[in-house]
C-alpha cells in the first residue's frame, strides 16, 4: 500500500489506532454521566498548554498534558465541592483555555493563532516518533483504568448517589475518569485535533447504544466503531487531501446516521409485521 511507504503515515495510522481505541472507552462513562462535552472543555485547556509549549520551545504534547490534567482535576473538584455548577465550570474552562492559547501563541516568535490550526483540527503529517511513544504510554494508562475499573466506573456513572451510599471512593473515581479524559484529549491532538476529540469520545458510543442491549456490548461496539472511523479517516484524509480530524468526525457522524436510519427502518418493519399479525388473528 502506497500510504504505508511514508513514515508520517505510519505514525499517523498508529496514532489514529490509539485514539480510536481509547476515546470510546472514556466516552462511554462520560455519556453515562451526561458529561459528553467535558472533552471539549479539556481540549480548550490543552490548547493553552500547546501555546505554552510553542512559546517555551518545549514538546507541546507534554505541556498540553500538564494543562489538561490540571484543568481536569479542577473541573471535577469544582463540580463535586465548589459553589459553582458544572456548567459554569465548563464554560470557564472553554473560554479561559482558548483565550489563553490565542494570547500566549501571539507572544511566540512569529506566532499567530493560525499556528494552532493543526492542533485544533488535526493533521496527519504532524505526528512525531516521540509523540507516538507518549501516546502509547497514555493509551496504556487509559485502558488500564477504563477496563480495569470498569465495574466501579459503571457504578458511579450509572448512579452516583447509590455509589456514595455504598461507600465507594466516588470522588477518587471521578477524578481518575477526568484524568484519563485529559490523557485521551492529548492522545488525539495530532490526528483528530483538540476541538474535535469530543466527537470521537461520544459519537461511536452514541451509535453503539442504538444497537446494543448491554453496557458491555456498548463498550465493545463503541471501540470497534472508534477504531474503524479513526483509521479509515486517516486513510481517506491521505487520498482526498483533507484535514484528518474533520474527516474522522464526518465518518463517525456518517456511521451514526446509517445506524440510526437502519434502526428506524427495522423498528418500523417489525412494528408493521406485528400489526399485520395481530390483524390476521
Amino acid at each position: 500500500m502506497d500510504l504505508l511507504s511514508y513514515d508520517f503515515m505510519q505514525r499517523a495510522l498508529i496514532a489514529s489506532l490509539l485514539v480510536g481505541l481509547t476515546a470510546p472507552t472514556v466516552g462511554v462513562y462520560l455519556v453515562q454521566r451526561r458529561l459528553a462535552l467535558i472533552g471539549d472543555g479539556l481540549g480548550h485547556v490543552a490548547l493553552a498548554g500547546v501555546a505554552i509549549g510553542v512559546l517555551t520551545s518545549q514538546a507541546p504534547v507534554l505541556t498540553a498534558l500538564a494543562f489538561a490534567a490540571v484543568g481536569a482535576l479542577a473541573i471535577e473538584l469544582i463540580r463535586a465541592r465548589g459553589p459553582t455548577s458544572g456548567d459554569v465550570a465548563l464554560a470557564i474552562l472553554f473560554y479561559g483555555g482558548i483565550a489563553g492559547g490565542v494570547v500566549i501563541i501571539s507572544q511566540a516568535p512569529g506566532g499567530t493563532p493560525g499556528n494552532l490550526n493543526a492542533f485544533l483540527f488535526g493533521a496527519i503529517t504532524t505526528t512525531t516518533g516521540s509523540d507516538i511513544a507518549v501516546f502509547a504510554m497514555l493509551c496504556g494508562l487509559v485502558l488500564v483504568v477504563t477496563l480495569g475499573l470498569s465495574r466501579y466506573l459503571f457504578a458511579v456513572s450509572n448512579d452516583e448517589e447509590f455509589a456514595v451510599a455504598s461507600g465507594l471512593p466516588v470522588l477518587r473515581l471521578n477524578l481518575l475518569l477526568v484524568l484519563v479524559t485529559a490523557m485521551t484529549v492529548v492522545v488525539s491532538m495530532r490526528v483528530i485535533g483538540l476541538l474535535l476529540i469530543s466527537a470521537l469520545m461520544i459519537l461511536p458510543i452514541a451509535s453503539a447504544q442504538l444497537v446494543a442491549s448491554s453496557f458491555r456490548q456498548t463498550f465493545a461496539i463503541g471501540i470497534g466503531i472508534g477504531v474503524t472511523v479513526s483509521v479509515s479517516g486517516v486513510v481517506v484524509s491521505f487520498y482526498a487531501d483533507t484535514p484528518s480530524g474533520g474527516t474522522i468526525v464526518l465518518l463517525a457522524i456518517g456511521v451514526f446516521a446509517v445506524v440510526a436510519l437502519a434502526r428506524a427502518v427495522l423498528t418500523a418493519v417489525l412494528r408493521r409485521r406485528g400489526a399485520s399479525l395481530t390483524a390476521g388473528r
Binding site: V28, V31, Q32, R34, G148, L149, R151, Y152, F154, A155, N158, D159, E161, F162, A163, V164, A165, S166, G167, L168, P169, I205, Q209, A212, S213, S214, F215, R216, Q217, T218
Partner: protein
C-alpha cells in the same frame, strides 16, 4: 446488649447548613421493619439520607452499628434503594449489570468478581423474581420491575439493613404485591427494613413500627397504624384522627389514627 443498627440522638440533618430534620431521636434494632411516614417535605427522605451519608448531620449524632457515621466504613451492611433512578436514558445496561454494581460495596477496589460474588448477584436477582429477565436491558422493564432491580442491587451486597425510599411510589398494584412479598420474605429471613412511604397498602402487614415525621420532627414513633381487625392500612383514611405522642404537635398529617401499641419509644 448489641447496639442499635441505626441510632440518631438529637440529630439535625439537612443540606448546605440548612436543617430539614430538627433534633431527631431514632433507633432501629435488628429484625424490625419500620415505615417512615409523613407529608411531602416533612423530612422523611432526609432521615434516611442522613443515615446513609447523603445529607449532612448538622447537630447531634448518627451511629451505625455502634460506630459514628463519620468513621463508619462497613457500608455493605446497609443496602439502599433510592426513590428514583433514571434507567430509560443513557447507556443500555442489563439487569445483571446494574445489580452487579450493588456487590461492589463488599469488594476491595479493582478485585475481579469471584464465584461467590456472581452467586450473590444471581441470588439477589432471584429474590426479586427477575431471573428470567437478567439479560434484558433495564430500560425495557416496567416501572415495578425497575424498582425490583433497584432492590436486587441493594441486596447484592447482602446487607443487614435494607433502606428504601418510597419503594411503591408510582408502581402498579401487581408490582406492589410482588414488592410486599419480597420484603416479607426478607424480614422473615432476618433482614431489618427501614422504608419511607406515603401509603402502606400491600406493605402494611410487613411493618412492625411506624415513625411519623411532620415539619422536620418525629411526631409519632410506635406501633403500626391499625384499623379494623389488626390489619394495617394507609394513612389518610376518612375516619382517622391525629395522635401526637408529644402532646403539642404541629398540624395534623392527613388525619392519623394510631389505635394500638406503645408510642414514643
Amino acid at each position: 446488649m448489641a447496639p442499635p443498627l441505626v441510632h440518631l440522638r438529637g440529630a439535625s440533618v439537612g443540606y448546605d447548613q440548612h436543617p430539614v430534620l430538627h433534633e431527631v431521636d431514632f433507633r432501629l434494632d435488628a429484625g424490625e421493619a419500620v415505615a417512615v411516614m409523613g407529608p411531602n417535605g416533612a423530612g422523611k427522605s432526609t432521615l434516611i439520607r442522613g443515615i446513609l451519608g447523603l445529607a449532612e448531620v448538622l447537630a447531634g449524632s448518627v451511629e451505625l452499628f455502634g460506630v459514628p457515621r463519620t468513621r463508619f466504613r462497613a457500608w455493605h451492611r446497609l443496602g439502599y434503594v433510592p426513590q428514583t433512578h433514571s434507567m430509560v436514558s443513557g447507556i443500555p445496561s442489563t439487569v445483571r449489570e446494574v445489580v452487579g454494581s450493588g456487590r461492589l460495596s463488599r469488594k476491595r477496589i479493582a478485585r475481579p468478581f469471584s464465584t461467590a460474588d456472581r452467586r450473590a448477584v444471581e441470588a439477589a436477582i432471584d429474590t426479586v423474581r427477575l431471573s428470567d429477565l437478567a439479560r434484558h436491558p433495564v430500560a425495557t422493564l416496567s416501572g415495578g420491575q425497575q424498582r425490583r432491580v433497584l432492590i436486587a442491587r441493594a441486596l447484592a451486597g447482602e446487607p443487614e439493613v435494607l433502606v428504601l425510599d418510597e419503594p411503591t411510589a408510582g408502581v402498579d398494584a401487581g408490582s406492589r404485591t410482588v414488592l410486599a412479598e419480597t420484603l416479607t420474605r426478607l424480614v422473615a429471613g432476618g433482614t431489618t427494613i427501614l422504608f419511607v412511604t406515603h401509603e402502606l397498602n400491600e406493605m402494611g402487614p410487613v411493618i412492625t413500627r411506624t415513625v411519623v415525621i411532620e415539619h422536620g420532627r418525629v411526631s409519632h414513633d410506635g406501633a403500626p397504624i391499625e384499623v379494623g381487625h389488626g390489619s394495617v392500612t394507609s394513612l389518610g383514611g376518612a375516619d382517622c384522627e391525629h395522635l401526637d405522642p408529644h402532646g403539642a404537635g404541629p398540624e395534623p398529617y392527613s388525619g392519623l389514627r394510631l389505635s394500638t401499641g406503645v408510642e414514643g419509644r
